[in-house]
Amino acid sequence: MLIFLILGAPIIFAAGAFFAGRNKFFGAINSAGYFVLFVAGSLLFWDSLSSDGRGPYFGFIYIDALSAFFIFTISMAVFAAALYSCGYINNQTGQGRMTRDKARLYYILFNLFCLSMFFVPAVNNLGMLWVAVEMTTLISAFLVGFYNSKESVEAAWKYIIICSVGIIFALLGTILFSYAFSLSGGSASLNWQDMAEAAGRMDRNILKTAFIFILVGYGTKAGLAPMHTWLPDAHSQAVAPASALLSGVLLKTAVYAILRFGVITVNGAGFAYFGRLMVLFGLISLAVSCGFILIQKDLKRLLAYSSIEHIGIIAVGFGLGTPLSMAAAILHIFNHAATKSLMFFGAGNLVDKYRTHNMRLIRGASAVMPFTGFMLLLGVFALAGMPPFSIFISEMLVLLSAFLKGAYAVVFLMLGFVTVIFAALVYHFGRMIFGPAPKGMPAESEPLSIKLAFLFLFIQICILGIAPLFMGKELVWIAQRLFRL
């Protein structure tokens, strides 16, 4: 029943924003609401680990451990974004850069966007899954084009067109899956549980063709290279908290869709096909993002390319297919959501203060905004994969499982790319954080809610960086529960 709280609350918040969104205190109420959802999401995940799945309700809402995990991750990132929005939007309206009406529109869109993202893992019908993913695109396009500048409208147009075409291919793949299902004697129900059970009887060739379309289609949305071209534009132009959500969890909802179809493909056509494709696209993503991160000048685009890198690591993790690498990829989904949100919040603060995306013009962040500067410094090491933080653990586990599996080429390539990206990230951020502050720019303290958002995410990063050292077995157990290995 928790799921109805999670799906219903954003509608209520959106309605609340419609009536009270102009109010200065709406942001605080909104974040309090999303704190409740975060608790509900955690409970749902906890509950799903011990049960065999809840539902179906109304025939298309079904929660098993995998979907509960994604809902939990989304609720975490959304809570942080709501908390950050509170201070960020108030700052913008306070400085007269955003009218109160715009702020109201922002909160309505924010809540609808969250609703659409919660829907993706909650539905068990693959057609409805498609509809939910397309809804996330349509709503977030407004958040990308929110500032109505030439750049942001261009980014929104590219985003909506490229993702719509991608998603059309995903629909083609979905139809082919249902074709394979009906050939094997099933009805045309598109129900995931039924299809996963019948997968063994399906035509292997059709499954393989269909999965290509799914991977290209949802892969476009997930930001896998070479279908990633919308991603840096959209992420760099969106409102700062929306950038964090796009990068932190929107991409993951598309990964979720790929996984659902992946399970059917693995059951029907064997693991090798799925695994090779995932590893291939993952490595291409790593290579592409590595090059662009090195030469990047724009702060938010840098972070966007880093998202492509991490999606690549996640794809490699799933593609390797051992229980350990699956656990690592799942962990990485959560870790990346937390870390990348933190980085986008920091970037949002810097862009707001310096009024530019150009990294050459941003200097001395630690002097101008001490708290943000400090958090960004910790965050960039967390993002690049330094030991006490969580991304280190999950990247290490992916590498370790590739090593244990004997996929030395994968280890070699991935290690190379990750090392270069580490150096590039630390170099770029080092130049922004340190150095003398620009003349005439007073030091400034951030609002409480922004600080809280940073601390909330930072605690997640630290806990998950240390805890897996003591509970490796539990992690693998959770991964096994997720995929019923």
Binding site: G145, I168, L171, I175, S182, A188, L190, Q296
Partner: protein, 211 residues
């Protein structure tokens, strides 16, 4: 009967390939959607499924009437010249369309079941519409032509779904319709904005964001 409709679908799609101006493109999209409506309606008559009647009615209402009307309205409102901006001239486009038809036929042959259902012709038409929509999106310059391309791809998928499994489940089909309609509305909204900001809707000139 069904064969004639499929031929009409193909012809309307060829008309799209040679259309040079926006109204012509929208008109051929309208013909294409009307053929889909007829095809669905005939299947509904034959199989007597109430859901199919509703879907046929929705195709007629949305794709034959409402969406073309909205697109015409957009052209009227933005007052740019109505060329759709061709990268490839109509003759060459038509030649490409013929090549796509042949390729679609090959793919359809690979996928269709030995018993002869789904029919290879229907699969061919479906794949051809998807590839032609993709072609329009890539080789036409204006934002509106891209919307039509997307809608053509979606029409193709509709035909594919009805060819392979007698259509998607009813409420999924309804949700997909709603979704397509929403996306046309939202894209139209962004076309307005692009036109306001850039005073043109040539998407290949949108190049402020690089790398």
């Amino acid at each position: 009967m069904h064969g004639i409709i499929l031929a009409a679908v193909l012809i309307s799609t060829y008309l799209m390939a040679i259309a040079k101006r926006m109204p012509a493109l929208i008109r051929s999209f309208r013909y294409q959607s009307f053929c889909l409506f007829l095809s669905t309606f005939i299947i509904a008559l034959a199989e007597r499924r109430p859901g199919l009647y509703i879907i046929a009615a929705l195709i007629f209402a949305l794709k034959v009437c409402l969406i073309p009307y909205l697109l015409y309205r957009i052209i009227g409102r933005i007052k740019v010249k109505q060329d759709i901006g061709l990268f490839i001239n109509p003759q060459m486009s038509l030649f490409c369309a013929l090549v796509f038809t042949y390729l679609s036929w090959l793919v359809a042959g690979y996928l269709s079941a030995p018993e002869g259902y789904p029919k290879t012709e229907m699969l061919t038409a479906a794949f051809f519409m998807v590839s032609q929509g993709m072609f329009l999106m890539i080789f036409r310059k204006t934002a509106l032509a891209q919307i039509i391309g997307l809608l053509t791809m979606e029409n193709g998928l509709f035909l594919l779904a009805s060819a392979v499994s007698g259509g998607m489940p009813f409420f999924v089909e309804i949700a997909v319709f709603f979704d397509v309609f929403m996306s046309v509305l939202i894209m139209g909204f962004f076309v307005y904005r692009i036109n306001n900001l850039f005073t043109h809707i040539d998407v290949h000139k949108l190049s402020r964001l690089k790398r």
